[in-house]
């Protein structure tokens, strides 16, 4: 119905503007000549650093205390340690530098001058700061393993712990058992050729290595969009579990304003509208069972006690994922690194022809192009997304990405795109036979939505398996078919039992 013609000459609605609006002098000190323009405002080099540290603290510190409304000005008392997700890219390198200056080396230049030296603000906030790097070279045979480089780099910062993981750990029961001190979780595989994603149990005698499982999983993905999305999800969930393992209440990621805008638009384009909030900040609980805790505290108290004792001695509860650079654009990150002499290792380009064809890459290209002509676009996107919230109640967590998911997805899908004339096909398979009911919309799309342009080959040679192994955490959120113990049964019925007197 629109009359818009895509072949347009020039920018008819939003004309290109001058880089700075009024003056060349710094808007803050009004004396020095400016060195950087941040969305039409000019800053000098001296005023730039406090601006960035201020934005960083403002991005992180309001969520440090468990209760957001506590006396944060005087006391930052987190519930646990801090985990820094580090990829080697610009954002996470700047984040690491800021975390180190503000909380580890206690660099005075990063602190506000008011309040005196003994102000409680100058006390250490985090007991332990751990840096976690997830090596993804397992996904691409031609990619170099950079773990030693990263380890060496992180070692140049004093007082930080370092943990390195590999992408294939997501398929390694040994890693899972080490993190969760349990070995009873069953592992699953799924038939990725149908929408239904029929589940099967992975034989405990399965001989495929975690790396082979990773290869099977990635090679089964239908589009160039699905591969980077799946890798991102694996990395994120690996980081979440590492946060649990290191007793960290907070996981910080180096997502800049620009990358946040990209991930929001890319998320919307992949059907992740329900999780926009989590894209910005999220609070994660170990698995669906624990997430249901709040609503079912009474009923599941017994079960929970069991779980807690399994991880005895550890901090219980949640991991808060924060992106403290969400107000700092890519350009500002780059200048911080340059002016503070921070070396950037950089990310290794993906040796894969599909790397630029996916929705994520297309979005990045589109947004960075738009940012050049309309510098306010990225912050507008982020601001808009902070003004919306998910609609309706959540129906638990997605088994794959561990984010809240909504109900009734399959009915919605079969109503708006009919795939069968036979009504019997519409009845969903039982929850134990199919992965689909345990997935959020976006993860289901990632695994099943096809294109006439299939994903370019990753050059992997996975073993020929009819069923593709799923990440180790997929088992933990599934309903267990195990029988209730006598004790549990008694708890259910005890209110109705007459006491023998």
């Amino acid at each position: 119905m629109s009359c818009g013609n895509p072949a347009v000459e020039g920018d008819a609605l939003m004309p290109r503007r001058k880089k700075y609006d009024k003056t060349k002098f710094c808007v803050k000190c009004k004396e020095a000549q400016g060195s950087i323009v941040i969305r039409h405002a000019v800053y000098c080099k001296d005023c730039f650093s406090p601006l960035i540290t201020h934005k960083f603290r403002r991005g992180l510190e309001p969520s440090v205390n468990q209760k957001a409304d506590g006396p944060r000005r005087t006391a930052l008392k987190p519930d646990g340690n801090l985990l820094v997700g580090f990829s080697g890219g610009l954002g996470s390198t700047v984040l690491l530098d800021l975390v180190h200056r503000c909380y580890v080396s206690m660099d005075q230049s990063t602190m506000p001058s008011d309040g005196g030296k003994n102000h409680p603000r100058h006390e250490k906030v985090w007991n332990r700061v751990t840096v976690c790097y997830v090596e993804i070279s397992g996904a691409f045979p031609a990619m170099r393993d950079r773990t030693p480089d990263v380890e060496q780099y992180v070692a140049t910062y004093e007082g930080l712990d370092f943990v390195s993981l590999r992408l294939q750990d997501a398929f390694d029961p040994n890693w899972w058992n080490a993190v969760h001190a349990s070995s009873d979780d069953q592992r699953f595989a799924a038939d990725m050729t149908s929408e239904e994603l029929r589940l099967s149990k992975l034989a405990s005698t399965s001989t495929s290595t975690p790396l082979q499982s990773l290869h099977s999983y990635l090679a089964s993905l239908p589009t160039a969009t699905a591969v980077p999305t799946a890798i991102e999800t694996l990395v994120r969930v690996l980081l979440l579990h590492t946060a649990l393992q290191t007793d960290s209440s907070h996981l910080v990621l180096g997502t800049s304003l620009t990358s946040l805008a990209v991930s929001l638009i890319s998320g919307v384009s992949q059907g992740r509208g329900y999780n926009l909030k989590e894209e910005m900040q999220e609070e994660w609980m170990p698995d669906a069972e624990v997430a249901n805790l709040r609503s079912e505290q009474e009923q599941t108290s017994h079960d929970t006690k069991e779980r807690r004792s399994a991880r005895d001695g550890r901090r219980k509860g949640y991991v808060r994922v924060v992106r403290p650079l969400r107000d700092v654009g890519r350009k500002e990150c780059a200048l911080w690194a340059r002016w503070r002499d921070v070396t950037i290792i950089g990310k290794e380009p993906w040796p894969w022809s599909g790397a630029k064809q996916g929705i994520g890459a297309l979005t990045r290209e589109f947004i960075t192009g738009l940012e050049k002509d309309y510098p306010s676009t990225v912050s507008t996107i982020v601001r808009t997304c902070t003004k919306v919230e998910p609609k309706g109640e959540s129906a638990g967590l997605c088994a794959l990405c561990a984010r809240p998911m909504q109900e009734g997805l399959q009915e919605w899908k079969s109503r708006i795109s009919i795939r069968s004339r036979d009504a019997s096909h519409d009845t969903p398979p039982s929850a134990s036979a199919s992965l689909t009911p345990h997935l959020c919309y976006a993860c289901h799309i990632t695994l099943t939505s096809r294109s006439s342009r299939p994903a370019p080959s990753l050059g992997l040679t996975p073993p020929a398996l009819s069923d593709v192994p799923l990440p180790v955490w997929v088992g933990s959120g599934m309903p267990r078919s195990a029988k209730l113990s006598e004790q549990q049964m008694k708890e259910v019925v005890q209110d109705f039992l007459l006491e023998d007197t």
């Binding site: 119905m1 629109s2 009359c3 818009g4 013609n5 895509p6 347009v8 920018d11 008819a12 609605l13 939003m14 050729t193 090679a219 089964s220 160039a224 969009t225 638009i265 919307v268 384009s269 059907g271 992740r272 509208g273 329900y274 926009l276 064809q357 996916g358 929705i359 297309l362 979005t363 676009t377 507008t380 996107i381 808009t384 003004k387 919306v388 919230e389 998910p390 609609k391 919605w412 109503r415 708006i416 795109s417 009919i418 069968s420 004339r421 919309y441 976006a442 939505s449 096809r450 294109s451 006439s452 342009r453 994903a455 370019p456 080959s457 992997l460 996975p462 073993p463 020929a464 398996l465």
Partner: protein
């Protein structure tokens, strides 16, 4: 040929080389097309069936109509509205909705574009046997788009056309005494609007752009039965049904920002065809926070023409005043608006839009062109 999935079995490999020829839905007839929405290879009859049934599902799920409703189809003569008229008629007969259907066209006054497409609408009137009402910008506002463009140039002209069309449709519908206007907005349009509203920060529109039906306090219902229909499938439907439609882009087209969003959406669709539905799904899954809603302006009535408005004057009256006083930018930029106000109040003799009243009588208050 190398398979992109090296672990596939021989059967899958054969299927890749020699695609199955049978329809994936009826397993009977020969498949002749690949559905853009699902990628399934299906036959012509099944395509008609799924396309129509999906629209029917959309209509029934949202409970859009009740028996006896008078419904106007916003008809431009283009593919979307032509297919909409055809499908609405088909479904109304097949499922006995009991609707009284009308065609409502707006003549923007664009020589070489709208006059030609209106000829198509007049033919549709005959073909579908529906009463037609044409309302022109000239009649309502005293300005044709040709005259507007000659004053303001091509830049921003879509702002005028869009605002004027919306109000003209409501006024046309009111004169037909209809309860409901259906428009041919398709899934691509809606996905594009979701992206655009996020990028422009238009929170009010973002909240309502995925709604299938919008209704203000006293305005006529508007809905989009093609909300989940892919543009490509609408063209396909028109092609196989040999429907008569007019397919030329407007000659005063540029809306640069929408153009950006549209080009981006096409890239996304090429990467993964489900992207269009996925974006709409995203849009349906969030809503504007209550505390943000509280800061939004409440709806008022325009003091000059009685149409719904978020300010003292509705957008159409502001635009018209700017045109009449030779300061067309007044409603487009804040600065120009201030300049206009500084020149004093609107003169008494200013041409205005007739006062809007939604009459609810049993009979249309305007003469209709009956199909002959």
């Amino acid at each position: 040929m190398t398979s992109p999935h090296p672990h596939l079995g021989i059967r899958d490999l054969l299927q890749t080389i020699m695609p199955p020829r049978l329809c994936a839905l009826c397993h009977d007839a020969r498949a002749i097309l690949k559905r853009p929405k699902t990628g399934q290879q299906i036959c012509k009859e099944c395509f008609f069936w799924v396309f129509e049934t999906e629209v029917h599902n959309t209509i029934t799920e949202a409970k859009l109509f009740k028996p006896g409703d008078r419904v106007a189809i916003g008809a431009s003569g283009g593919k979307d509205s032509t297919v909409l008229a055809h499908v609405m008629k088909t479904l109304n007969d097949r499922y006995e909705y009991g609707l009284e259907l009308f065609l409502l066209s707006i003549d923007e006054g664009i020589t070489g574009y709208r006059d030609d497409s209106l000829e198509t609408v007049k033919r549709n009137q005959q073909q579908y046997d529906m009463p037609l009402k044409i309302l022109s910008y000239d009649e309502l506002y005293g300005w044709t788009m040709d005259a507007i463009v000659s004053q303001i140039g091509k830049k921003n002209n879509c702002t005028f056309c869009g605002v004027f069309r919306r109000q003209a449709l409501d006024r046309g519908a009111a004169s037909l005494h209809v309860d409901h206007i259906v428009t041919g907005h398709n899934a691509d349009d809606i996905a594009e609007t979701v992206l655009m509203n996020i990028m422009r920060g238009d929170i009010a529109r973002l909240g309502r752009c995925t709604l299938i039906c919008t209704q203000g306090e006293d305005t006529i219902k508007r809905s989009k039965p093609f909300k989940y229909a892919y543009e490509k499938e609408i063209v396909m439907y028109a092609y196989f049904k040999k429907l008569d439609y007019f397919s030329t882009e407007c000659i005063y087209s540029p809306d640069a920002y929408r153009g950006h969003a549209r080009a981006f959406l096409k890239d996304l669709e090429a990467a993964r065809p489900s992207a269009i539905i996925d974006i709409i799904h995203s849009g349906e899954m969030f809503e504007v926070k209550e505390e943000v809603k509280a800061t939004q302006k409440s709806q008022k009535t325009c003091k000059r023409c009685g149409y719904m408005s978020s300010n003292e004057l509705c957008k159409a009256c502001t635009l018209l005043e700017g045109l009449e006083r030779g300061m067309a930018a007044a409603a487009v930029t804040e600065r120009a608006r201030k300049k206009l106000d500084a020149e004093g109040p609107a003169p008494e003799s200013l041409r205005t839009i007739p006062f809007f009243q939604q009459s609810r009588g049993p009979h249309p208050s305007v003469a209709l062109e009956r199909p002959t």
